[in-house]
Structure formats: C-alpha cells, structure tokens
C-alpha cells in the first residue's frame, strides 16, 4: 500500500498504521462493532454517519465487496479502522476490494492497528472523538474535537424526497419515516407484501396521510434522538395508526409519548446481543447498532424486551394501541434473523 495512516483520539493518544481507502482526513466519534462478518452492510448503514468505525474482528475484506449488500447508496462511516484489510479477497459475488471501495467514497481507512486495545479503551472511557488520516509523506493533522450530539445527522441521512417501494403483490401500504433507513428494512416489509412509501424526516403529517397508509414505520438512523423534536411531534400526530419503530425510530416514539433517552457509554454494536422477550419468555440474538437508549418508557407503554447483559430497554409497546418498537435491528443485515418475526407481527396489526 505504501501509505501511512494515523488515528488520533480525543485523549491525545495516537495509533499509527498503514493507510488504505482514500487519502483523506476525517473526524468523528470512535465506535466499535463486534460482528465478525458484514463489514459492507455496516459501512453503508446510515446510522454510522458521524462515526469512525472500528471492527473488533481483525480480518476484514476477506470476501470483498459485492453489488448486493448495500444498506444505502454510499459509505456513511467517516473512517474505518481494522487490524488487517485483506489484500486478497475471494467470493463469487465480489466485484471489488475493500481498499478501492473506501477510496471510491472518499473514506480513509487505517490498518495494522491494535484494534483490541482500541475496543478496550472505548469500553473503559466511552466513545471518543477521533480523527483518521491517510497520508503520503507527512501527516497534515488538525483538530480532533467533535461534538456528536450537537449535529443533526438525520438531515443528511434521510432522503430528500418521497420514494415508493411497492411489490407487485402488495396488499398493505405503509409510510416509512426515513431517518436514515437501511434498505433491508424496506426489503423485509416488501417481502411480506407490504408496500412502502418513504418520506423525508421533516415531512408533514398531511403528506404522510395523503398516502392513506395502513401503518407507519419509523426507521433507524444516526444521531441523538432528543434533538429531533419535529419527528417526535410527527410521530405523536400519527398515533392513531399502527406503528413500528426500529432503533432511532424506537427512541423517537419514546420521546413522542413522553419517555426519554440517554447516551450509553459505548453503545451496542454487533450481531450477538441477547434480548429477552418478557412476554414470549424467549431469548433472541439480535443485531444492534445504537449509542443511545430509552431510559424511561412513556406512561402508556410497557417494556417488552430487555438486553440480557446490561438490562437496557430493547423493546416496548403501547398498552392499548398497535404501536410497538425495538431498539435493535430485526432486519439484521448483517446479523441473525432471530427477530424477523416482528415484521410478521407488524403485518398482522396493519
């Protein structure tokens, strides 16, 4: 590769390694993900906007990049930190390697780093501001400060117009509030014969109702849910409809009905998080990607699911209306399909 790279953390420490992807410098919030596969899905997940992503699994890029596993049209992570970015790759679907993929979207990558040390540091100190720079010759450098919670990433991640994703056999129609949606959510809905009209994060209730939806999906997305006050009121005003919230959508529903959220020390990002369903009395292994969590559910809601390890709230439902939401990603991608039943449930209540 020949290029060097440096990861500088807000605490003043620096990690040097080899550069790949784009020769560029970016700042963001440093987070880690423990999934052992699914790097392409993670990189293109809009929820990573504003974040530099570290993979705890050391070998990344083994099966290249394909043309299918895009969760959006581009890479959202600000930078990518790995122990080894595989020089060679092999997969029947692969069309390019990780290096050129990052380069194409202008994202810098650093490899050769002791990523386990980074993970442990994040675990101990919480998420940190950081910069990643890939350079030839001399490092340019710059500020490493970054205030994640003050930025409205949804504004960037949400689509600007209305999108229609309607399968031929669609029997139901929902409106999806796009806060930075992963394509897999739309796919899961379509797979069940649910047509999807996606509207931007700042859509009006009138626009939503103009599509005469059978229900509402509040999508995942990046950033602090507390600052999305217009989304809270939009959700509130649509509460006569069946509603399903995922991740940021779940947090927004909590806010909309009077609950609140708080930032976790280092969040949950991975494909192995056990969630206990208090009603089914069953454990599901889920994909998670969130830095905030619902701290208190609204009065009209009951907690339906909790994370087994730290007991954070992972799911809730309205006590009388067909409104429910989960903190994790039932659409998986990457990750296990254990929680796919939630989409079936949503179809039932439409």
């Amino acid at each position: 590769m020949g290029r060097r790279a440096v990861l500088r953390l807000g605490d003043g420490s620096a990690f040097f390694g080899d550069g790949f992807g784009a020769s560029a410098r970016r700042v963001g919030e440093l987070v880690f993900n423990t999934s052992m596969q699914g790097y392409q899905e993670a990189l293109t997940d809009p929820s990573y906007a504003g974040q530099v992503l570290t993979m705890s699994y050391p070998l990344i890029g083994n099966y290249g990049i394909n043309s299918t596993d895009f969760e959006s049209s581009r890479i959202w992570a600000e930078g990518f930190v790995v122990r080894e970015a595989s020089e060679s790759f092999f997969h029947r679907e692969a069309v390019r390697d990780l290096d050129s993929f990052l380069a194409k979207y202008g994202v810098p990558g650093i490899c050769g780093v002791d990523t386990r040390e980074l993970v442990k540091r994040i675990r101990k100190h919480g998420v940190l501001p950081c910069s990643v720079e890939v350079f030839e010759g001399k490092e340019k450098g710059g500020e490493v400060s970054f205030e994640y919670s003050s930025v409205n990433f949804v504004e960037k991640a949400s689509s600007s117009g209305v999108g229609k994703f309607v399968p031929e056999n669609a029997e139901k129609m929902v409106v999806l509030l796009d806060l930075g949606v992963k394509r897999s959510i739309v796919k899961e809905l379509n797979k069940r014969g649910i047509g999807v009209v996606s509207v931007p994060w700042n859509a009006s209730a009138e626009l939503v109702r103009s599509f005469e939806p059978d229900g509402i999906v509040v999508s995942n997305g990046p950033g602090d849910p507390a600052i999305l006050t217009n989304v809270h009121s939009l959700v509130r005003s649509l509460s006569d409809l069946p509603m399903f919230g995922i991740c940021l959508g779940h947090q927004c529903i909590a806010h909309a009905f009077g609950g609140n959220t708080s930032k976790l020390k280092f969040g949950h990002r991975g494909s192995n998080h056990p969630v206990y369903d208090l009603e089914k009395k069953r454990v599901f292994i889920t994909t998670q990607n969130h830095g905030f969590a619902v701290e208190r559910v609204p009065d009209e809601f009951v907690v339906t699911q909790v994370e087994l390890n730290d007991k954070t709230i992972e799911g809730m439902r309205h006590s009388s209306k067909p409104i429910f939401s989960v903190q994790y990603h039932p659409e998986a991608s990457p990750g296990p399909h254990d929680a796919g039943y939630l989409f079936d449930h949503f179809l039932k209540v439409l």
Partner: protein
C-alpha cells in the same frame, strides 16, 4: 426437573476419532452437575482421565463400557438420570443400547439432555433425510443401486460428478469418483461384486466444495444459539478431524453465514436437541449452493475445539441445560454475563491434526474420509498467517522435506500443507494450487504471503522493521534464523534489542466488549499486553502438546493434577499447552492459561512475561523435558531433578557409568554415532540387540535386530531419527519378565508408587504391554532388590519429583533397562490403583518438600489394558515390538488377577463369547505354549482352527481343523485362512509374528484381515496364555463391579 443422582458415561480408552475431548467435556459436565447439587456416578474404563479422579465425581467406576457392566452399576447405584451426550459416540451408543434392552425402564432411569428420539432422528440416515426434506434443507442427493442400469440412471438424475461406493464395505473400499458415464461403469461393476449386499450407493460428489461446521446449543425453552462456526481449510473429501480447521469462518459473507446459521438453528429445533449439537455443511463457493452433511447430537471433538476457540464452556452449559435450566438462567463464568450469548472472536484460531504415520512404516499416508490422526494442535493469532504458523510449530515436528509437492497435493496426504508451502517456494501460483486442491484461494493467498515473507527475509536480512513484520506474521525465531543463516539465539537477541517482544491477549468470548475474568491468553505481536505480571508465587507447568502415540492423555492428566495440587498448596499455577482437546487447557484448570506452542521460544517468552518462581518440566512427557536444558541455560529455574540428573538419565554413556558405580546391572550396551561404530558395537554385544535413538518419544525408531544383515538395513533409519544424538544399542533379553516402577523422590527418600509387571515378556514397549499391579512372577527378594535399586538410583540422580524405571528380570537377575526422570504413562493408572495422589506428592517434592520412604500396599489387582489404531491405519502391521503403537489404555480392577485382566481386555475390545472358533497361527517358538492354549480352549468348548504349520504342532492338544494356506487351491467345502477369517465363524485370532515378518507374509495378511473384520487378534503368546488361563478360571462366574476405592477391602467413599 428433580435430578438427584445422575449417571455419566465416559468415552473409554483414547482411540483415533475419540480422544481426550471427552475427558474435558465429561469432567466439565460432572463439575456443572455437582454445582447444582446432583450426585454424580461416573463410569469410564480409561484411568488416564481427570474424569475418573475421585474428586471429579461423587462415585467413580472404572469398569468396561458395555451393557452388562452398566446394568450392574445401575442396579447397584440406582441413579435416577442418565447423561449420555458427554461420552462421545461410545456414550451415546451405550445409552441407546441400555434403552433397547429395557435397562433404563427397568430401573427407572430417565435420560436427561437430548432425548433418545432426537438422537435416533439425527443418527438414522433415513429419518434424518426425511426430516431435512420436511424442513426444506438440502442434503446430498443419493441413491442406492442394485443394478447397472439403476446406477447409471441415478447418476444422470443426480448429475455428474458422482461418488459411488459399495454398501457395507470397510472404509469405503472399492469406491470411486466418476465425472461421466464411462468412468462410472467400471466402478459400479466392481462395486456390485465387492458389496456384501450387492448394493452401491451413488451420491452427488461435492469433492472440493467448502466445508463448514456450526456448534449449536439449545435449551428446553427452545432458545438456541450458535457458539462458533468453523471453516475447513481442506475442502470436502477430507474428514473434518483430518482437516486444518479455522475459526471463525473466513470466506463467508454475512448473507452466506446467516443461511447456514438459520439452517443449523432450524435443524436443532426440529430435532429438539437439549444441549450441544454439531451441524456440518457443505457449501459451494462458486454457486452458493449448500446442504447438510450430518449432525452430531452430542458433545464432540468440534465442540471441544469450539469451546477452546471461543472460551465458551459448551459442556458446562449443556449439562445445566440437561437439568432443565434455560440459557438465560445460566451464567457465562467468563464475563459474568448470560450464557445466552453468541461469542465474538477478535482473533483467528487454527487447528491442525497430528498424524501417527511416522510410527507405521509402509502405511498409507493419504488422508480422506477416514480419520487417522491421533490428536491436534491449536493456535491463536491475530492473523490467519500467524495462527497457521503457530499451529504448525505446535505439532512438535521436524519440518518434513518435500521432494515432489504434487504427490501430496491431491489426493492429499498428511504433508499437504508443507507441500503447498514448497510449491509456492518453487514458484507456483495460487490458481495452480487451487486447481489441484480446490482450497479456497483466500487461504492459498495467505499461505503464499508466508512464502513471500520467507523470500524477503532471505533476501533482505534482519532489519528491525522486517523482523517485526515477520514476527507479526507468526514466524518463529528459529525459522527466521534458518532463512538468514543465524541461530535461534542470535535472532532472539536481535529481536529483544529492538524491543520486539510478544504481547499477550485475552480470550474472553466477547471481543473485549465486556470486562472478562478469564485468565486465558495467547501471544501476538501487538501494542497492548493484557497479561500483566501478577503478584504471588507462581509456577509454570509445561504441557505435553497434541495427543500422539506415546504421549497421550496421561501427561495431560499429570499437568492438570499438578495445577490442582499447586492450588491446594496456595501457589498460583500457570499452564502452557496447545492441545484443544484436553482438561489442562480448560480455562479454569489453572490460574492462568497460555495457549501456546511448546517450543523454547514460546515458553521462554511466557517465562519472561510472568517471571515464575520455577518451571515444571517433568509432567508433559518428552516434549517438556526436552526443553529443560535450554530453559536452564537461559537462567530459568527448572523445578525438581536438576539438569545434570536429567542428563545422566538420558545420556547412555553417563548412565552406564552410574549404573556400574552403583552395581546395578544393565543388559550389555553401547552407543554409536555412526554406522560403522554401530555395527561394530552390535557384533561385540552379540545379536539379538535392541537399537534405539536417544531422546525420543515412545520408542520411535526403535527395533529389535537379530542379525548383522538386518542391522545394515535398519541402522541408517535409526541414525536419522536420532538426529545428532547417539544411537543406543542394548543386548536384547528374550523371555525376560519386564517390570517398571513409578516413584517420587526428594533425592534422599523415595516413595515407591508401585511395582508393576508386564504380562508380556520384555521387548514389547511398555506403552503397548498389559501391565499388572501387584506383580505376578517376582519373588519377595526380587521386589526388595527393585526397591533398593530404585532408591539408590533416585538418590544418585538427585531425583526430586518423578522417576520411572524399567527393569527386566531374567534367570533370577535384575537388569535395569532405562530410567526416565519424569512422570510416565503409568502414573494415572498407578494413582487410581493405589489411591495415592502421586502427582501432588511429586509436585511437593519438586518444590522441596520431603517424601517418605514407603510404598502403598495393594490388596487387589489392577491391570492396564491397551487399544491399538490398526483398523484405521491401513497397511500397518499390528504386531508388537519396542516401538509403541497403541493410542490408549483401559483399566481392569478385580479382587484377583484373572477378573482384573479379563476386564482390562474386555474394555480394550478383546472378549470371547461362550462358544465359537479360535484360529491359531503361531511362530515356531510359541507352539509349545500354543499346545496348552489350544487344549484349554478346546476344553472350554471352542473349535480350534490352525494354519498348516501350527496345526501339526497342535494336533496332540486337541482336534484341530487345518485351514489352507493363503492362495492355496481349495476344494468345495474348504477355505483358506483369509476366507476362514472372513466367514464369520472365528471369534478370536491368535497370531504371533515371525521375527522378520513383512507385509508380504501370510501372518501380516492374517492380522490385517482380522482387524478389518473386527475380530480380536492377539499377537503375543503371553497375552494369549494369560487370557486363556483367566477365561478358564472364571468360567461360569460373573464379573463383579465395584466403586473405585472399594476394591481390596477399602470402604465406601
């Protein structure tokens, strides 16, 4: 569920395909059950297990694993439950049998964990296939054809290429691979002839497709999780036990992985597994096509590997599930989080098998669907290259020279990985190797990078940056040294000068996400070292590495016991080992576990990181004692017997002068460093002689030589095995009694652990002999002499800790054969027989405590039996000699010799029904004894068959039917010997080989045929004689079972 007393069945002796992993899972299960207040009754015939320690289970039975014996135990102990999924296929089959014979019902024993219906569904091909069809999960399409047209039609339907193999032949004999009709026809023709049922199975060939395994746990509430997935480096066509296996899977995209994960979960749910289960898949990397190969509804070799690879204690959790607990209720003791959690790895694990071919001259080295390896080495690294290189060096193997790589690439041999490396060195490309081996190019690319690094090192020399890069890739100092013409020491110094030292990372099952409490580490060259030097008095125990013939589970037993002993003494134990199957590498066996290769470099690095008070080298067999010298030279305190003492014991010349000084007789002996010297020494001593290399495991390269001509042929080989060390030449004492002593000494006083006598005459390797305590033929005077010599020698060698001494007795004279200043194979057997915790005593002695000048009395008989891998190693001669060939041991206990001996043999698979025929084929020297054997057998109602020569000699004993020689023309009612063996009438074969038996001899063929037909074959006349004597004495008597500790009048518990 109310379980009060549970029976746990172990897996019996170590055999190829069923090894120490079941001691590990069984012991973990026992601990887990007892934690929940369940009283555990444990049955296993293998004494060399931690499982059969009195501390592991509440009640221990060391008895043969068969239905009648288990029935007696159930009758006696009345357990309310049976846990059958911890003892491998042996345990599972026994549970099925017990159920079939109504024993479980009769005594109200409930099977806990995965139920019989699930087991049956998983094991019966037909039922399993039906279930997969129901679930819509693909399996290999296959048909069973009886006629040529049927076969061809089936192949068309399935689509070429296909594999055709005759039904019910052993190890796929006569099968073949066909890519078109023309190739299939001859295979079918041959197959219909070979198959007993006249049927040929035709299956879709997935040769070369990817192979993946998923380890799954499910509980009674239908929660199910994947603990680990693993990818075989060697594609389909090579048994997973014979493959290099990598965890986690490296070449699957998340979508691929989820397809297999979903299928695995659906299968275990449909089967209603309650506990652990292994699901194997084939996966076509070109098309994404996949299917199930098979499932194992129990703990397995793979589950042990998955446990060690992830840190997740599968057996422990499975045992708790068997008691009705659900995953969310069980804690993961590592992270103190829930057990309902799928481990995330942040490293790469590579497992590589260890094969025994070096022990079996002339055997077929090809690897395939039949398992032949005896053990495995595992390594952990942060890159694939690092973990692969560490795994290879963990094999404790001299790097083989590959002359013609293509001969090992396909069909693969045990040397394939070395051949791939060599092919890359000679300039081959990834595509070329891929075309031949079908190995995934991602893996091949990585192997090629290793070779590129070799070339860079050779070209550029030892620059600090390159050195660091090479170390990060997993190169050893010795390997780098070889490339630049420097010694290991020089590379090591250069490395340390540049601050290139390893860091240690924790295996925590969660990729660092949670703070973990596991003291389980591996080395890598990274930034942060997590294994910070801890306070306290620490002792490092060096393990014994992969299970191999001659260095088996016995040594792991000693190491695990030592860790427990240190704990009791208030010291901290640090374990280093690289065998994923065993107890010693369970993260809670020691205070700290380093999962590392057992080379000087790797061990020294740990010493430098931990700074232990001392290192124990006596317990890990030859592997660990071989490190003593180098460690000591580097200032490490080797505990126990000093380096000088070890050297005297292992150096023939020095040992001879010591024996002379002490007046202890040795057989005439000499050493030689070249061929001429050896021939000269041999003729001076006089043939027959025993020739052996020094410092080797289990008599490797050792042989009895009867003439100068034979010596000419053999000596080169022995020199080769011995490397630069001298070859030892001893006078062979024929018809001598052999006995051995395991003792613990403080260099002044010596505790005699026991004097054991071999059933066979001297000349059969101690590891292959049936061994009795108390001894059978030794006078009180001789016993006294043995004790005296043992004590004198221990003092003279300055033994602190273990010593094992082998003696021969001939004509009332005592000869010393050898002394090993370390724990021997018989230590666990002896501890079980006498109830004395020898390992703890030895550890205390190593640390300076005194021992008593005494010896336990044994008021019953304990016999060590042996099991051999001859069925699995095709082409190997099964006759016994000074080179060890057995893989495992059994133990028979009784109030008298006969019942103990019969039990030991029975547990090793040698038993005789009440009637039938016995075939004798004896060398001349044994025919006198043969007469008595035949008389007794005939007296018990057995029909006697004999080969022509033997037949003539036996006619005076009994009415003997003489079989025709092999290949001799037979009349319509006549059979030659091989046909006779195949006919099914013969229940036992007694065949003693002539001195120079080769693979063309009739004897060789007789022995191979018996093994292949599953007929017990005894190859030593003394073994046979004692067997027949015992049978005669015990006629009409029932063998009793007792708890360990009850024999010899000892009271309960």
């Amino acid at each position: 569920m109310n379980v009060k007393r549970a029976l746990v069945i172990g897996s019996g002796p170590i055999v190829i395909g069923q090894s120490a992993e079941f001691d590990y899972s069984g012991t973990q299960a026992c601990k887990a059950l007892r934690e929940e207040g369940v009283e555990v009754v444990l049955v296993n015939s293998n004494p060399a297990t931690i499982q059969t320690d009195r501390e592991t289970a509440d009640i221990v039975y060391i008895e043969p694993l068969d239905v009648p014996t288990l029935k007696k135990i159930i009758q006696r102990e009345r357990p309310d439950s049976l846990l059958a999924t911890m003892g491998g296929q042996t345990g599972l089959n026994l549970a099925i049998e017990l159920d079939k014979w109504g024993v479980l019902e009769q005594y109200n024993v409930r099977l806990i964990g995965t139920g019989l219906k699930a087991i049956e569904k998983a094991e019966s091909r037909e039922k399993f296939n039906a279930l997969m069809k129901e679930l819509g999960i693909p399996i290999l399409p296959g048909f069973c054809a009886k006629k040529m047209e049927e076969g061809l039609e089936a192949a068309e339907k399935i689509g070429y290429p296909v594999v055709a193999r005759p039904a019910y032949t052993l190890g796929g004999t006569g099968g073949g691979f066909a890519s078109c009709k023309e190739e299939l026809e001859p295979i079918l023709e041959r197959g219909f002839n070979l198959s007993r049922s006249g049927e040929v199975l035709i299956e879709k060939s997935v040769l070369g497709w990817g192979e993946f395994e998923y380890e799954v746990i499910r509980d009674s509430a239908d929660n199910a999780i994947i603990i680990c997935n693993m990818e075989n480096f060697d594609p389909m066509g090579v048994h997973t036990g014979e493959s290099i296996v990598v965890a986690p899977a490296q070449t699957l995209s998340d979508r691929d992985h989820q397809v297999l994960r979903d299928a695995a979960l659906r299968i275990v749910r449909a089967l209603k597994i309650e506990g652990g289960c292994n699901v194997q898949f084939y996966f076509n990397q070109e098309t994404g096509q996949y299917g199930v190969i098979e499932v194992n509804p129990r703990l397995s070799r793979s589950s042990a590997l998955a446990s060690k690879a992830t840190g997740y204690p599968i057996a422990r959790v499975a045992a708790k599930i068997a008691l009705g607990k659900t995953l969310d209720e069980i804690r993961n003791p590592i992270t103190n989080t829930t057990a309902a959690f799928e481990p995330a790895l942040d490293y790469v694990v590579t497992k590589i098998p260890k094969w025994p071919f070096e022990k079996f001259r002339g055997s077929d080295r090809r690897i395939g669907t039949q398992m032949k390896s005896t053990g495995e080495a595992m390594a952990i690294g942060r890159t694939f290259e690092e973990s692969l290189l560490k795994a290879i060096r963990g094999l404790d193997l001299k790097e083989p020279k590959i002359e013609k790589p293509e001969e090992h690439l396909f069909p693969p041999t045990d040397l394939r990985i070395f051949a791939i490396l060599e092919a890359f060195r000679r300039g081959a490309g990834v595509e070329e190797i891929r075309a031949k081996t079908k190995i995934n190019p991602w893996f091949l690319g990585k192997v090629k990078r290793i070779v590129e690094m070799e070339k860079r090192i050779a070209r550029e020399g030892l620059g600090a940056d390159l050195l660091r890069e090479a170390k990060r890739m997993g190169f050893s100092d010795a390997q780098i040294g070889k490339l630049v013409g420097k010694s290991e020491r020089e590379v090591r110094e250069k490395r340390k000068e540049n601050g290139i030292i390893p860091t240690y990372k924790m295996v925590d099952s969660c990729a660092g996400e949670f703070e973990a409490l596991t003291p389980y580490f591996y080395s890598t060259y990274e930034n942060e070292n997590e294994a910070k030097e801890s306070g306290g008095r620490k002792i490092l125990i060096i393990g014994s590495g992969p299970i191999r013939i001659g260095q088996g589970i016995e040594f792991d037993y000693c190491c695990s016991q030592a860790a427990m002993a240190l704990r009791r003494m208030g010291l901290l134990s640090i374990m280093v080992n690289n065998n994923p199957e065993t107890m010693s590498t369970d993260f809670d066996s020691s205070d700290r576990l380093y999962f590392e290769p057992l080379t000087f470099e790797d061990v020294m690095n740990i010493v430098e990181n931990e700074k232990p008070e001392g290192v124990i080298v006596q317990l890990g067999g030859q592997t660990s004692i071989n490190l003593a010298q180098a460690l000591s030279e580097n200032g490490v305190r080797v505990l126990g017997t000093g380096i000088e003492g070890i050297d005297v014991a292992e150096d023939r010349e020095k040992f001879r002068s010591l024996c002379e000084k002490l007046g202890i007789r040795q057989p005439l002996n000499a050493t030689a460093t070249d061929k001429e010297g050896a021939l000269k020494a041999a003729s001076e001593i006089g043939y027959p002689i025993v020739v052996r290399p020094s410092y080797v495991i289990a008599g490797r390269g050792m042989q009895i030589v009867f003439s100068p001509e034979e010596m000419e042929k053999f000596i080169g080989q022995a020199m080769d095995v011995s490397e630069n060390k001298p070859v030892l030449i001893d006078k062979y004492l024929d018809n001598a009694f052999e006995c051995e002593v395991d003792a613990v000494s403080d260099s002044e006083n010596t505790f005699i652990g026991g004097i054991m006598e071999h059933v066979e005459f001297a000349g059969v390797h101690s590891g292959d002999a049936n061994i009795s305590i108390p001894p059978l033929n030794l006078s009180e005077k001789m016993l006294r002499k043995i004790r005296e010599s043992t004590r004198e020698l221990s003092r003279a060698l300055g033994v602190k800790g273990f010593v094992n001494i082998q003696y021969a007795v001939k004509g009332g004279e005592l000869f010393i054969i050898e002394a090993n200043p370390r724990a021997s194979r018989t230590v666990p057997f002896l501890s079980k027989a006498t109830g004395v915790p020898l390992v703890e005593m030895a550890v205390r002695a190593m640390l300076g405590e005194g021992v008593e000048n005494s010896e336990p009395s044994v008021n019953h008989y304990a016999i060590k039996g042996v099991v051999f891998p001859f069925l699995k190693i095709s082409g190997a001669d099964i006759s016994l000699g000074p080179e060890m060939k057995s893989t495992g041991e059994t133990m028979g206990l009784g109030e008298d010799f006969e019942s103990a001996y019969i039990k030991a043999l029975q547990a090793s698979g040698i038993s005789l029904p009440k009637g039938g025929a016995v075939l004798l084929s004896l060398r001349k020297e044994d025919r006198e004894d043969g007469v008595e054997i035949a008389r007794k057998l005939a007296g018990m109602g057995f029909e006697i068959y004999a080969t022509p020569g033997t037949g003539v000699a036996l006619t005076r004993a009994a009415s003997v039917q003489v079989a025709k020689r092999i290949g001799e023309k037979c009349g319509p009612d006549e059979m030659d010997v091989l046909q006779l063996i195949s006919s099914g009438d013969v229940q036992l074969v007694i065949n003693t080989p002539t001195k120079s038996g080769n693979s063309f001899s009739d004897g060789f063929k007789i022995r191979r045929r018996s093994i292949e037909k599953g007929i017990p074959c005894v190859t030593n006349i003394r073994t046979a004689m004692e067997f027949v004597n015992a049978l005669e004495k015990l006629r009409g008597k029932e063998l009793e079972v007792r708890r360990l500790g009850e024999y010899g009048g000892e009271k309960h518990g």
